[in-house]
Structure formats: C-alpha cells, structure tokens
Amino acid sequence: MNKYFTNLYNTDVKNETEILSDTQALIDDKEYSYDFKFINDNAIVLRINNKNYLMTLNANEEEEYIEVNLDSKVYNIFCKSELEIMIEKMSNGKVDKKTRKEIYSPMPGIITKLNVRDGQKVSKGEVLLVLEAMKMENEIKAAKDCVIKKINVEALKSVEKNELLIVLE
C-alpha cells in the first residue's frame, strides 16, 4: 500500500499522495518525477522535477504530525497511510482527554517556590508555584477559584515536561 493522505496543519491543503516508484509519485493526480536521499533519519535532499529541496523532518509523536522544515519555515503535516486509516475506522476508539483538574508542567525545570499546600483555597490569578527553567522564573497561576486537592511536587525539586504538578478539586 503506497497511498497516503496528508493535511497541512492550519490550512485547508489536503493531498492524496501515491508513491508509484522510487522516482515517480502522484500528488493529487499530478505526476511528479523525483529523486531523494536521506542524509540521516531527520534530513532529506529531495529533487522534484529537478528542483532542489533540503528539508529536515521530525515526528511529533504527541500530536501525531510530521514537522517539515524548509528554508527555516516549519510545515506541520498530518500524514496517514491508507492502512492506518482502515485500522482507525475499525477500532474507532475514543481516548479520554485530560480533565482540567490537573496542572501539568509546561516545560522541564526546577520548582523554586511552592506557595500552596493541600486543601488550600486559592483564587483566580494567584501564583501557585514558580517554575525556573534556564534561569527564567515562570509563574504558574490558578486559572479559576478552586481548592488544592493534592500537590504532587516538592519545592527545589526538578520536574519533567508534562509532569503532574497539582491536582485541583
């Protein structure tokens, strides 16, 4: 199966691409001749109709798209093979979205200040903790009036990105 469906993020550009051979591809019913070489897993030289494109690529596993960088501009592309689309249709599973009752670390860093404790009432805009990364302090504030159910971190400890910091009631 050599058919892929792509969607350029933030645009209505949708393409259907079929790899016909190592040198021919069909993009939206138009035939292109191409040549390519992967310099490493994340970089490709692609020649389409003799035009040169040196691009770098990265899979964003979390968001399920591929970041293509051309001339230092990033294009995010959702890309699915025919097979993947078939499997998805069959399983049609739903994944629970994270509820808003949890605060996750937006970046890796060190908790330099922890202003709240379990069970404390806080009001909107109150600084719950300060996360320091690369010498800049970032305040994590309450988005609404709420009660702190559980604090999952300790002051002066480092945290990873997306680590659960605080659970709200």
Binding site: N2, Y4, T6, L8, N10, T11, V13, N15, T17, I19, A25, I27, Y32, Y34, F36, F38, I39, N40, D41, N42, A43, I44, L46, I48, K51, Y53, L54, M55, T56, L57, N58, A59, I66, V68, L70, D71, S72, K73, V74, Y75, I77, C79, S81, P106, M107, P108, G109, I110, T112, K113, V127, V130, E132, A133, M134, K135, M136, E137, S158, K161
Partner: protein
Amino acid sequence: MSTSYKIKQLFKKILIANRGEIAVRIITTAKEMGITTVAVYSDFDKYSLFTKIADEAYHIGESISSKSYLDAEKIIEVAKRSGAEAIHPGYGFLSERSFFAKMCEVNGLKFIGAGHEAIDLLGNKTEAKQLAIKNKVPVVQGTERPIKDISEIKKVAKKIGYPILIKASAGGGGKGMRIVDQESDIESSLDLAQGEARSSFGDDSVFIEKYIASPRHVEIQILADEYGNVVHLGERECSMQRRHQKIIEETPSVIIDDKLRAEMGESAKRIVKAAGYSNAATVEFIVDNNNNYYFLEVNTRLQVEHPITEMRTGLDLVREQLKIASGEKLAFRQEDIEFKSHSIECRICAEDPENNFMPSTGKITFLKSVLTNGMREDTGIEQGNEISIYYDPMISKVISTGATREIAIDKMKRTLKDYKIVGIKTNIAFLLKLLESSEFIKGNYHTQFVEKEFLSREFKTEILSHDIKAAVTLAAVLFKKNKTQKTDSLKISNNSIRNNWINKRTDSYR
C-alpha cells in the same frame, strides 16, 4: 622592591571558567596564540565541544551550575593543579564577581578581566552611576543607593513618577529586572526581581529608576591596558530585545553618526578611566527619541555580542584581552581604529516562539549550517548533543558582515534559511521574520519593539506555491515510509534471530 616589574611574556597556560560557545571562542584564540588551554566541565558537559578542543579538561562537579561553573574554590583548585597561570571567566557565571577576581589574585592567578576593585566599583550600579555623574556623563533619574524596603520604593516611585524600573543591584542580561506601571504591582514585581537576583547572583538588593519608554540600547566597546591607555571600538546597537535579552545586534547603529559616536565613545572612556579599569569593558547607554544618551551600566567582561565589533574593526577581542592581562600595552591608539563594514549578530536560542518562547530541550538529531562568503558562527553545540534545562537557551551565534547594511542583512537571511537543526525548537524562523520587518529594514526599532509591537502583529498566511506544497508533502510521506520500513525490518530481523536461536538449541540437543 622594584615596581617596574611587569610580565611582558604571554601566558603559557590558561583555564577557561565557562562552557558552551564562549568557552569554544576563548579556547580557539588562546590556541592560536600558542597558549595551552584548560577546560573545566560539569557532569552534563563531559564531552561537549569545548571540552574536546581544549588541551586539557577537568571535571568540576554536578550539572547544576551552582555546583560546577559557580564553584569558585573548585575552579581555583583545578587552575593550580593544572599549572594554569590565568583564568578567563567568559561571560555570565563568575565573570563579574569581584570575589572571584580577588580569589584569583590571592592564589597567584591572573584574572583575565578587570581588577576586583574596578569590578566592585562598576558592578555596583549605584556607585557606577555616581562615577558617571562625577565625570559629566548623562544619567537617568532614580535612587542613588540600593534599597530593600518596599515603602521606600513606593516613596521614590511617587517622586519620579511611574512607570519605574526595579533592577537587581548585581543583575544583568534581563535577570532580576521588572517594569512597574502602578503602585499595586510593586510587591509582586519586587518579589520576582529579588528571587531571580538571588538565584542568579546571590545578592537581592535592588534599585529603581525612571523608566524611559521606547528607548534604544546602544553600547560602546572599550579596551584599556594596565598603563592607562584606553580606546573605544565604536558602538553596538542592541535594541532588538525580548524580555530584556538581546536577540539581534548590529554595528554601526543606524542612528549614530560620527559626531555622536565620538561623543559617546569619549564619555565611555572617561568612566572606565576614572574607575582605574583595565581589560575589555562595555559601557551601556540608553538613547531616547531625540538621540539624547544616558549612562546605563558598565559590563566588566567580554559581551555575548562582541563578534560584531571584531568584524567591524578587524580586531580579535579575546587576543587583546590576553595581551592586556599579560601586561602588554595596547598596540594602537584611538586614531588607529578603523571602522569598516557593517556587521549583524543573530542569537540562536533553544526556545519555542509559538509557545511564549518556552525553553526547548531535547537531543539535536541533525545540525548543519552553510557558512561561506565570510559568514561566522560562534557555536558550542554539535549534532547529537542534548540541550538541557541547566544552562542558558542561547546555543549559537550567527554573524554576518558586509560592505553595507543591506548586504549584511541579505547574507544573514541566506544563512538562517539554510540553517538546519532538528530535535529542539529554535527561534530561527522568528529571527527571519524580525529581519524582514519594515522596522528592522529601516533601522527604526527600540527595546520595546518586539514585545509591544511585533509579537501582537498578525502575519498573513502565506499562499504556498504548488511546488512547495508538493515538496513538503512528499517529504513527509517519504519520512513516514522510511520510518515504517525501518521498524518493519527490525521486526523481521528480530524474528530471524529468534528462529536461528531455536534452531541452534535443537541442533545441540540432537
């Protein structure tokens, strides 16, 4: 005792008490001069570029800088053990800490920078301001001594009028600095400024001053030898800033003419001379809408953006620093300094401009830049490196030089477009947008431009050509196909190993 004794011979061996691109920068010049170089590294930096190009490398502690690059005693101990005669502190870390300069002196090591008395005097913003006033250099209104008391801050603020700027006494690089628009914001801003100051500099006193809206930041590079000879090497326009951190610098500044340059240069020289300063210094000024300039502070070290001055004057500032520290006289006078060409520096940072410039960490899986036609890159990173939370997000500097400003801009844009880095987010696309803004092209920007104007600007979504659409789409498809094939072949080879193993077992049991 003879007082005329001076070391006129260059150092044989120096230690570089820094990391990343600036360590690479210093090591390079030192090696060119035939000086043996000693690198010190934290756990994280064990095989970072600077440790590999240095002649010797010593482990000094944990990744967190307070347990390595800020551990003065450990660094001094290594310097003595390795037989280094002098220490170059780079920028940041211990570079502006007078106690460290003093510790070097006490231990018989030459600190490649100003003497500790001059660092104390100029590093203290209040005393530096007094010195400026005494030497007839214009300053901005504000407190004349550091304060900690909040009611006193409120009183002064009322007198000079809002907005005010709260600055950590020992701050720099935008750390420990907050603008306050109204009295009710003072407490929280003071807390943050002091917090940052404490963690970065270990000193939490602050001072406040009148905040000048839309100013330019223009600084003068100074070289001073130990015999009272002082020259200035012209200005650097550093107004392109975000969160008080410079991101693009250029020289000359579009607003500075020969007369103003000479005037600011002489002002800067007066302050440095009065402080009894030697080695490299940068005197920072802010310039208002009417081209009035005010003294801001003196940075008693090599600046991040020093390369543009090097490109414009043809001097190697690290070489000059090493010569001055070893007791040589400046080999040129003010009138010998030639200003040629235009030079621009862009700072490449590991951050995500799309997400409030959040620092970005990760492994660099691909890295390539094409530096031809006189382009320069001062970098500390290599393909395969990790970018961590421990250190500054600034990972590399790209420097372009051209006969005119237009040429320098064109060259910078070309290089940034061809700069390929995968694995972390960077500000390269953002830098390109800035370079293409009409304000930058006209040279009509100030320190508030990025945050107050540029960031809120809506950009038209580009209409993509068919060619580009086809290229990025096909690249994504080929990438996906390549990855799937790799995983599949891995599965197959795993199976074959297993089959083989079963076969062997059966064989031996037969």
